[in-house]
C-alpha cells in the first residue's frame, strides 16, 4: 500500500518562487517578441490590456512548463524541488484539462490584478487563495477546486521511501 507524502511548505514555496521568476523573465521575452503591447491601444483601454497580458502570461507559462506538466505533472520549479501535482489520494498525474485550469487560469488572474494596481486587493486575494496551504491538507484554493495534491514522494509499505 502506498502512502503519498505531501510536499513540504518549503519545497512548495521555493518551487513557486522559482516559477514566478522564470515566468516574469519569460513574459518579458514573450511581450517583446509578440509585440502584444507595442501599440497604443492596450495602454489606453483596460480591457485590451488585461486580455493581452492574460494571453502573454498563458503563452509564457505553456512554453516554459507545458511539456513537463503533460508528462510529469510538474513545472520547472517543481521539477527542481522534486515535487509534483497528482490527483488527490493517488500518485497519478491529473488529466490535462485539470492541469490547464489549475495552471493557466489562476496565475494570469494575479498578474492582471497587479498590473491594474488594485492596491491591497492582490495581497488579500493571495492570502485567501494560498493561505489554506497552512492547513492540514496543504492545499491551495485551486487544489481544492480541481481536487489535486502536490506530493514530495511516495512511501510504499514494506519498502524504503522512493523519491518521485
Amino acid at each position: 500500500m502506498s502512502e503519498f507524502v505531501l510536499a513540504t511548505h518549503g519545497r512548495r514555496l521555493f518551487a513557486a518562487l522559482l516559477d514566478f521568476v522564470l515566468v516574469i523573465v519569460g513574459l518579458i521575452v514573450v511581450l517583446a517578441t509578440t509585440r502584444l503591447l507595442e501599440s497604443s491601444e492596450p495602454w489606453t483601454n483596460d480591457l485590451s490590456f488585461n486580455v493581452r497580458i492574460f494571453a502573454a502570461g498563458a503563452l509564457t507559462y505553456l512554453i516554459l512548463n507545458g511539456l513537463l506538466l503533460i508528462y510529469r505533472g510538474q513545472t520547472i520549479g517543481k521539477f527542481v524541488l522534486g515535487i509534483r501535482i497528482v490527483i488527490t489520494g493517488t500518485d497519478r498525474r491529473p488529466p490535462i484539462w485539470v492541469l490547464v485550469v489549475r495552471s493557466l487560469f489562476i496565475p494570469p488572474v494575479f498578474v492582471a490584478i497587479m498590473f491594474n494596481d488594485w492596491g491591497g486587493t492582490v495581497f488579500i486575494v493571495a492570502f485567501v487563495w494560498y493561505g489554506t496551504i497552512l492547513l492540514k491538507h496543504r492545499k491551495c484554493l485551486h487544489d481544492y477546486l480541481v481536487r489535486t495534491d502536490v506530493i514530495g514522494h511516495v512511501n510504499t509499505k514494506g519498502s524504503s521511501t522512493q523519491p518521485v
Binding site: 521575452v29 517583446a32 517578441t33 509585440r35 507595442e38 497604443s40 495602454w43 489606453t44
Partner: protein
C-alpha cells in the same frame, strides 16, 4: 456730385457698421486663455480696476478649496459667477462669496481655460478635459450640450485651451505618446498633434489638421522585436491665436517624439480659418526629437539618438502691431528665445535670446502683451533639468521687451531665498497685464505684481501656507504658481495656488483678492 457724397457717406456708415459687428463678434463671446483673439492676456481699464496706485490695498477676500493639488484650469467670470475646472469637474462659484452654485462632472481633469459664447440666447461654456476631449455645457444649468473627442486617437491629450471664434471652436490636440515612450514594450511613436475645428452648436468636426501629414513608418527596432516608428509628435500644447484680418489661425508645436524628425516640430503654423489649409509653417529648431524615455535613461530603447533639446512652443503666439502699424506675431519658445514673425509669410523679423532654455526652461506656458506701451512680458523659467539644459547662465524672471525693437525694457527677478527645485526663482506661470500692472508668481508660491513700465515690484503675497475657506472646517493649502496664472477682473485678482507636476509644490487654493475699500 450729391450722389457721390451720398455714396461716400453710405460707404462710411457701412464700414462703421462692419467694424461694430466685428467688435460685437468678439464681445458676445469670452476668449478663454488669451482674453482676446490675439492672445494678449491684457485686461483693459473697463475690465480691470487694479492699478499701480491701488494695488497696495489688495486684500484676500475669500478662498475656495479645490479638489485637486494640481489645478490646471483658467477661470472665467461671467456676470456674477466664477467658473473653474476642479479636477474631474467644472465648478460654478458665486463671485462675491465663493459659495458653490453647481458642479459638472467630466471624465478626466479639466485642463484648460474656459470660453463662453451666447448661442441662440443661451450662455454656453467651452473647455477641454485632458484625457478625453472638448465639452460644451450650459452656463446656467450645468447641463452638457455636446461633447467632442475632436477626432480623438487613443493617445490624444487635450492640454491647450480651445478658442471660440464665431461659429467655430479651434481645439488644440497633443499626444500622450511622450510618456508612453517610457514603456520598453511600446513601439514609439506614431501619432501627431493636431488642431481641430468644431462647430460651436453641435461639436461636429469641420476640419482636422494633423501637424505631421506624413504617416509614421517603421524606422528600426527597440527592445528585441518591438518596432520604432517616425515621424511623430509635434503636439499642440497651447491655445491658438486668431487673425481676423487674414482669417488665419496661428499655433505652435512641440518637438518630435522619434527620429527622423519632421519639418513641422518646434514650429509656428498659420492655417486658413475655414478649411485648415496651411498658409505657412516656420520651423525654429530642426531635428528636435525627445520623449520621457530619455528622462529614464539616454540609452533607453525609445529615447531618440541623439536626443533633442525639447524646446517646444508651449506658449500661445501673440498678434499685435508695432507703433508704425506693421503687424507682428510674437512667439516664445522653451529655448529661451522670443521670435518676432511676419504674419503674412512666416518670415522671422527678429529673435531675442532671453533665457538658456531646456526641458522646463525658457518660455513655458504663456506671455502677456501691453498694447498701451507696446511691451511684451516674457516669463523665463530656466530651471536646471538633467540632462537637457541650455549652456548659458540661467536668466529666470520676468522680462519686458519692446516689440518694436526687440530690446529688453526691464527685467525682474524675485529673490525666493533659495534655488532648490521647489523654490527656484524663475517664472513658469503665464503673466497677465493691464495698463499699469503685470501679475506673475513663482514656484515658491510668491504672487507678484510689477509695474508694467518700470518693472518695480509693487506687491507680493506668499501663498505657501494653509488657508481657511468659504466652507466651514475645510482648509486649503497654497503651493507653486504655474501654467495659466491669474485673472484680473474689475476690482479682483483671481488665481489658483498649487501645481505639483514636474516636482513643483502642490496646492488646492483658489484665491480671490479684491481692493479693500476700507
Amino acid at each position: 456730385m450729391f450722389k457721390k457724397k451720398m455714396l461716400l457717406k453710405l460707404m462710411c456708415v457701412a464700414a462703421a457698421l462692419f467694424c461694430v459687428y466685428g467688435v460685437a463678434q468678439q464681445q458676445k463671446s469670452g476668449h478663454g486663455w488669451g482674453l482676446n483673439f490675439q492672445n494678449h492676456r491684457f485686461q483693459s481699464n473697463d475690465k480691470s480696476f487694479l492699478s499701480s496706485t491701488n494695488v497696495d490695498r489688495l486684500k484676500l477676500k475669500w478662498v475656495y478649496a479645490l479638489g485637486t493639488q494640481e489645478p490646471r484650469s483658467y477661470p472665467l467670470v461671467l456676470d456674477d459667477r466664477l467658473f473653474i475646472g476642479d479636477g474631474n469637474a467644472l465648478t460654478a462659484l458665486d463671485l462675491e462669496s465663493g459659495k458653490q452654485l453647481w458642479s459638472f462632472d467630466t471624465e478626466s481633469p479639466v485642463s484648460t481655460a474656459i470660453s463662453h459664447a451666447n448661442i441662440d440666447g443661451e450662455d454656453r461654456l467651452f473647455f477641454s478635459a485632458r484625457g478625453n476631449g472638448v465639452y460644451s455645457i450650459s452656463a446656467d444649468e450645468s447641463k452638457e450640450i455636446w461633447f467632442s473627442p475632436a477626432g480623438r486617437k487613443s493617445t490624444a491629450t487635450y492640454s491647450g485651451s480651445p478658442l471660440v471664434v464665431g461659429d467655430q471652436i479651434f481645439a488644440p490636440v497633443a499626444s500622450s505618446e511622450i510618456g508612453l515612450a517610457m514603456i520598453p514594450f511600446y513601439g514609439c511613436c506614431k501619432d501627431s498633434g493636431a488642431l481641430v475645428a468644431l462647430d460651436i452648436r453641435t461639436g461636429e468636426t469641420n476640419w482636422h489638421l494633423n501637424t505631421i501629414t506624413e504617416p509614421a513608418k517603421k524606422v528600426g527596432y527597440g527592445f528585441l522585436l518591438i518596432r520604432r516608428f517616425a515621424p511623430s509628435g509635434a503636439p499642440v500644447w497651447g491655445a491658438p491665436t486668431y487673425d481676423s484680418k487674414r482669417k488665419l489661425v496661428y499655433f505652435g508645436t512641440g518637438q518630435n517624439y522619434s527620429l527622423p524628425a519632421s519639418a513641422t516640430s518646434d514650429a509656428i503654423f498659420a492655417v486658413e480659418e475655414s478649411t485648415g489649409e496651411i498658409r505657412w509653417v516656420t520651423q525654429f529648431t530642426e531635428g528636435d526629437a525627445y520623449n520621457l524615455a530619455c528622462n529614464l535613461s539616454p540609452s533607453h530603447w525609445n529615447c531618440p539618438d541623439p536626443p533633442g533639446p525639447d524646446v517646444d512652443f508651449g506658449a500661445p503666439p501673440i498678434l499685435h502691431e508695432t507703433r508704425d502699424g506693421n503687424e507682428i506675431l510674437l512667439a516664445g519658445q522653451k529655448s529661451g528665445d522670443l521670435h518676432a514673425i511676419d504674419p503674412d509669410d512666416g518670415s522671422v523679423l527678429w529673435t531675442k535670446k532671453l533665457g538658456r532654455g531646456g526641458l522646463l526652461g525658457g518660455v513655458h506656458h504663456g506671455m502677456a502683451l501691453n498694447p498701451v506701451h507696446n511691451l511684451i512680458y516674457v516669463p523665463i523659467f530656466d530651471i536646471y533639468t538633467d540632462p537637457k539644459t541650455g549652456a548659458l547662465p540661467p536668466n529666470g524672471g520676468l522680462h519686458a521687451v519692446d516689440i518694436d525693437t526687440g530690446e529688453v525694457a526691464w527685467s525682474a527677478t524675485y529673490d525666493t531665498g533659495c534655488e532648490e527645485r521647489n523654490c527656484w526663482p524663475g517664472i513658469s506661470v503665464s503673466p497677465i497685464a493691464n495698463e499699469s500692472i503685470v501679475v506673475v508668481g513663482t514656484i515658491n508660491g510668491d504672487l507678484l505684481i510689477y509695474d508694467t513700465v518700470t518693472g518695480e515690484l509693487l506687491w507680493s503675497y506668499y501663498t505657501r501656507k494653509s488657508f481657511s475657506t468659504v466652507e466651514e472646517n475645510v482648509r486649503a493649502n497654497g503651493g507653486s504658481f504655474d501654467v495659466h496664472g491669474a485673472l484680473l477682473y474689475e476690482d479682483k485678482l483671481i488665481v489658483t495656488s498649487g501645481y505639483q507636476n514636474f516636482g513643483q509644490i502642490g496646492g488646492n487654493a483658489l484665491l480671490v483678492f479684491a481692493i479693500d475699500d476700507e
